[in-house]
Subunit: 309 residues, 2 copies
């Protein structure tokens, strides 16, 4: 089970009624923050999932609307009680250390360690796990923006079902079932029993992706294949802004919907709206005509992703 | 005439219903910002005095709650149309250049020049003008905080009244009156006429002060002598927090009120409330019992200061 929430949906400039685009993920008591613009910590407070347990921050890129809240955020995490035994890891493109060092000129002292993981080209697409939080796997893919930019994908795999009948048939004692269930081998009657012997077929896990700021690319389509939820920028709603989208390396609603559809995503949330787009709902059909299960993002839009039955 | 507004009244952490302490000053079409924490640009937008014409930023000190909004603010000023002919000056304690350089790692390109003026000890108390915006004079005094910190005072002097009867008595032609009115000398009948000859006695101007974060000091009392308005931190309302105020180098309401009274300030606005003080009005009498004309600051509390009749 993973909870996902939008903390804001704005691009470029924070507004009184629109926080900058970022997202909070809750999994197994831990929290993951994606991007941290000016005011993100205020939205985190309003959402009330807590701030102390944010152990990972994923930065998509270094534009100020995605990073300017970092120093205040890091200080507030410290004031919330996070201590020297609880490192916080910041993932981001190459150069993250320099950016964080610069911003921390006003937050030099924190009561917990900050680890930086810069994600190189070779760590990126084709997707392999760049960071793992318990069973939740984070992978990344290079996006296509003005500056180096990363898309993120989160996968929570699901073990195959345990078939008690099979275990009984082999005669494995009940106290060994748990290990097999977890996918480990057990010794029994001088034999090594592999979990496959008592488990059912592979089962789909939970996955979702986060993409901003970017043009659509084929790599991104492959990267997001079959996600349950894609949170994607849709900076422009009006198709008349197509040229702007190309020039400024962003997407229209229609482009984001096409990307989601081609990736076979189950659901699309649009976010990162231009300051010139006060009412993104007006252009909803630009997305929904292509990808029926599209949602115009709003502050604290949230969802619990669960394993399918 | 000067307009003064509070943009926020919070210390340490920005909250959904409380912006961080900062202030905006409007004078002669230009704007001066004091401090720029996370979210300050959002409050500026709500206030609607404009952002493009902010030509001076006064930083009191480098703690994040007073500076973390700088990179986003500087970018938004650029997006509002400020250009290469319109420099923006940032005043602050020694070290301001290093702090601004660090924060600008995410705002390296701006369409207008940023000038930094670091204020040394010798430029500070006893007050002399460190910066002048038309006739408005800015001076500073060192405050007493954990790190180097400046209090600011703003003075708009008023010329003495022009006495037409005196000018007529000397026989000065009307077309020369304006120069004398402005305080300049004129030549007439081979004589130099000094403005004192046609002007009345000195007249009080407008003045106000801004102080945060600090303990009260005698220097500050002198620095703020006779201001029309003192905006001062009152981090703690409850007198039971006196020890905390001393330890953390802040003030209680009673201390701020005593400072204002001893400085002979006409009015006191309290600001920079601790996150642990959700309802500062509860402790209002801690201030008003000492300084009757005390006001508990709130978002967008504002006032137009005018020359007295």
């Amino acid at each position: 089970m993973i909870d996902v929430a939008l903390l804001g949906t704005g691009g470029t400039i924070p507004f009184p009624d629109r926080f900058l685009a970022s997202s909070l993920i809750r999994y197994n008591g831990q929290l993951i923050l994606i991007d941290c613009g000016e005011g993100t910590q205020v939205s985190i407070r309003k959402l009330a999932w807590g701030i102390r347990n944010i152990s990972v921050v994923c930065l998509t890129h270094f534009h100020a609307d995605h990073t300017s809240g970092l120093p205040g955020f890091l200080l507030t995490v410290g004031q919330s009680g996070r201590d020297r035994h609880e490192p916080l890891t910041i993932l981001g493109p190459r150069g993250t250390q320099r950016i964080v060092d610069g911003l921390r000129v006003i937050a030099p002292h924190l009561p917990y360690p900050v680890h930086i993981l810069e994600i190189d080209e070779e760590m990126s697409y084709p997707a392999k796990t760049i960071f793992q939080l318990n069973d939740l796997r984070i992978s990344s893919c290079h996006a296509d923006h003005e500056i180096s930019c990363l898309a993120y994908r989160f996968d929570l795999p699901r073990l195959p079902a345990f078939i008690p009948e099979k275990a009984k048939a082999i005669g494995i004692p009940v106290q060994k079932w748990k290990l097999l269930q977890r996918g480990e081998c057990v010794e029994f009657n001088g034999q090594t029993i592999h979990p496959e012997a008592v488990l059912g077929p592979p089962r789909a896990g939970i996955s979702f992706g986060y993409l901003t700021d970017s043009r659509p690319t084929k790599s991104l389509e492959r990267f997001f294949t079959n996600v349950d939820l894609l949170i994607s920028e849709g900076t422009y709603g009006d198709p008349a802004d197509q040229d702007k989208a190309i020039e400024n390396k962003h997407m229209t609603f229609a482009e984001a919907a096409t990307l989601a559809k081609n990736a076979n995503a189950k659901e699309l949330w649009l976010t990162h709206f231009s300051p010139a787009l006060p009412n993104p709902n007006y252009f909803y059909r630009q997305a929904s005509d292509i990808m029926a299960n599209s949602v115009i993002g709003h502050e604290h839009l949230s969802k619990t992703l669960i394993f399918p039955e």
